[in-house]
Amino acid sequence: MTKSVVGKSVTRVDSFNKVTGNAYYTGDVKLHGMLHGKILMSPHPHARINNINISRAVKLPGVKAVITSIDTPQKKFGIFSSTRDQYPIAYDKVRFVGEPVAAVAAVDLETAEEALRLIDVDYEILPAVFDPKEALQEGAPQVHEEAGHNRCLDYTVTYGDLNDGFAKADLIREDTFKTEALAHCQLEPYVAVANFLPTGKLEVWVPSQSPFTKRAALARTMQMNLSDIRIHAIDIGGAFGGLSEMGSAEFCAAMLSKKAKRPVKVAFSREQTMIAYRQKHPMEITIKTGMTKDGLITAKDIQILADGGAYQSTAGIALTVPLIMFLGLYRIPNVSYKALRVYTNKGPRGAMRGHGNQQLRFADGAQMDLMARELGLDPLEVRLKNAVQTGDVLLNGAKVYSCGFTECLEKVAEKSGWKEKRESSPGTLKGIGIGTGIHICGFDLGIRSTSGAIIKFNEDGKVSLLTGNIDNGQGNKTMHTQIAAEILGLPLEDINIICGDTDLTPLDPGTYTMSSAYISGNAVLQASLDARNQLLTIAANELNVGTSELEIADGRVFIKENPERHMRMKEIIWAGYKAGKHVIGRGEWRPSNVTPVDWMNGKIDGQPTKAYSYGVVVAEVEVDPVTYKVKVTKTTAAHDCGYAINPKAIEGQFEGSVAFGIGQALSEGFVWENGRALNAGFLGYKLYLAEDMPPVESIIVESEDPFGPFGAKEAGVTVSIAAVEAAVNAVQDALQAKFDSIPITPEKIQQIITKG
């Protein structure tokens, strides 16, 4: 089938609004009588709340509502029913700096802020624990007393026979690596607007990755009927995993609105956005690897200790997706995987780009290069030798239906000049490193595993496309519009897409687990095919031919053998109306035979995901001998996205991913003092800037997945995972040294260089 819209670098459907200032984000929402809400957050990492006195705040002129936990239903939330351990507003104690304690709505921001200062909280300071190892010790402060310990997840899974695997190895090496907590740094600060109506219904605007997830948690914590809450579609200023769960902004805005009987906007500051919602899991990862002298991996013994912060959040997923993906990258016959996540008195750690998978890839990949060095092997060859291939059945029984990993490795090596550059780099402070990434495209999310989409034809022959999936900036709106346009033979501008409005659009898994193209895209495809069949049936009837004789393109349906005989879309739609028919296509899609995962116990046997995507990055660096700074001079990135629906948008994902990945490797990370992040802001938390950014050579690899829409999988996240490993390995190569923690700061480099 020749394709006319998919596979083309089309103009995004939403960029006109964004370059003219007409995009509409949550912070732009202004409703009649809207109040400004502010949240009082705990200054202490661990304290009992003995009393909260709001009487002075309530009396301040202009204050319309003050809430504390006692004004709320006091229901905990969490992603699984077994992991609901967080109140949206602290109840009996606070467990991290930034935990909400009370909230105020007032006529303006200044009054709201003044009111916060008038709330008297009687805290009884408790001993706090910040280090995960200390948290495991006997007598450590208990973050959740009722649990009786600070372990919130602890399991070991073994495949094969480790002893046997290590016995076959020529080299066995054990290393421990550490990563730091990270912030998503979506440029849009976290914000929510809520309007509790006299009818008892609640309207909400909030940036999210799935309005349906947020609605479910809101309904639970507010003790409302799910369908009485409407979360509206809205433009979103980036997500990166950080908007996966409900947060206190929408909860407090809703509660304040209910109490004040007026709409309320709660906007977090940049600092609050970074400390008071979710962060990325810092991990300590110990890996023992056995390798033969020609580079075959014989066994891996992995132990992960994750600092989960104060609450469960995505604990089971963050610790188990690394295992699912680990098994899908290299063919390793014997694997043991121990996952341990502990509570500490730091901000809760949840999902962020690649989840725990990225941390493990950094550790595993850095060690792989150290082993290759010891054995005198080329790190690229080691990766090629062990790479998973299409058709492989993994240790957990999962089948890999499409895999362009080897092609990514080969193409990146060739384009980057890997062989020549590796030979020329010894003795200089220049280095080159390779990194690999894998991701799954969706997993079982219970009832939310199925995406639905609707195609509604309007009187003028144009289309409203409704999908529960949303666009955080990655280009999903354009992608879905392209899919529909392709099937319906319409130009992009004839399709108006409505994304993620809980009253209008069908349920969708959301923009996690890289399922937007694979699952939601398939639902849009099905809805489009359904509408197309309806169009053809009406036209066939009108033109007196069989549907198989018809073709659809350029906004019309025509007879293949006689293209002059045709009907325009509008004519077909009108003919339908006259015959009592509306053209409304429906589509739903859920990957078949996907096995539910037991996230808290690491049981992943079967087919936990239907598709794996792959990425490879080569990074070239130069270390400055005076400032000890690393400059990334060039990157080459390949990614198996299955099929490129919008190549330019995919390149954009690569580039953003490279910035994200090398930023994590070289500069990003929180600095802590007694549970307080000292650098929660863009001045202290160093993001990659335009002047730091290396060129990115992008290589799209298309393995054409048998189930993805047009063969598509996900686009880009594996590059962000691979880029971390690539940058670390490039620095290790430049200095012929080992780095066991990220970010690799100039201080760490200075230590290595001055030690010699």
Partner: protein
């Protein structure tokens, strides 16, 4: 709340009179009083560039600028660029080069970039990177934004 004072502003060619407190920022006046929501707030401490607007022809961070200090000034926001119809070359280039993802940084970037090429019609790669380094973008990795500014410069030269 401090005493309010009246100021006049010419914003995107229109005259406005607004009452502002001593500590009100220009960003707040634009967004809250004039409903010009195209200018974004990403940090409120001068570290992200999302709030960049033109004040008397020079790009400035409106979150750090007090409204009272702008009395009588001319301000251009993103909404002012294509006020009279077609998109400015720089807006067109950001679309064509796919330099826009979530779009939250875009208004500020385009204002900054437009100023650069208005004053330096032939910017080097380094000039562009330096200008864009005043703008944090978490989505794009800047590659396409740099291409867009180069292309916007070319289009601007051709349109003169």
């Amino acid at each position: 709340m401090g005493k309010k004072q009246q100021i006049t502003l010419k914003v995107n060619g229109e005259d406005w009179e607004v009452d502002v407190a001593n500590n009100t920022t220009l960003l707040d006046v634009l967004r809250e009083d004039l409903n010009l929501i195209g200018t974004k707030e990403g940090c409120d401490d001068g570290s992200c560039g999302a709030c960049t607007v033109m004040i008397n022809g020079t790009p400035a961070l409106s979150c750090l600028t007090l409204a009272v200090e702008c009395n009588g000034f001319e301000i251009t926001t993103i909404e002012g660029l294509n006020k009279d119809g077609p998109l400015e070359p720089m807006q067109q280039s950001f679309i064509e080069k796919d330099a826009v993802q979530c779009g939250f940084c875009t208004s500020g970037m385009i204002i900054g970039a437009k100023h650069l090429v208005d004053n330096n019609p032939n910017p080097t790669d380094e000039d562009v990177r330096e200008r864009l380094s005043g703008h944090i973008c978490r989505c794009t990795g800047y590659v396409k934004a740099i291409e867009a500014v180069m292309d916007g410069a070319l289009k601007t030269r051709q349109s003169r």
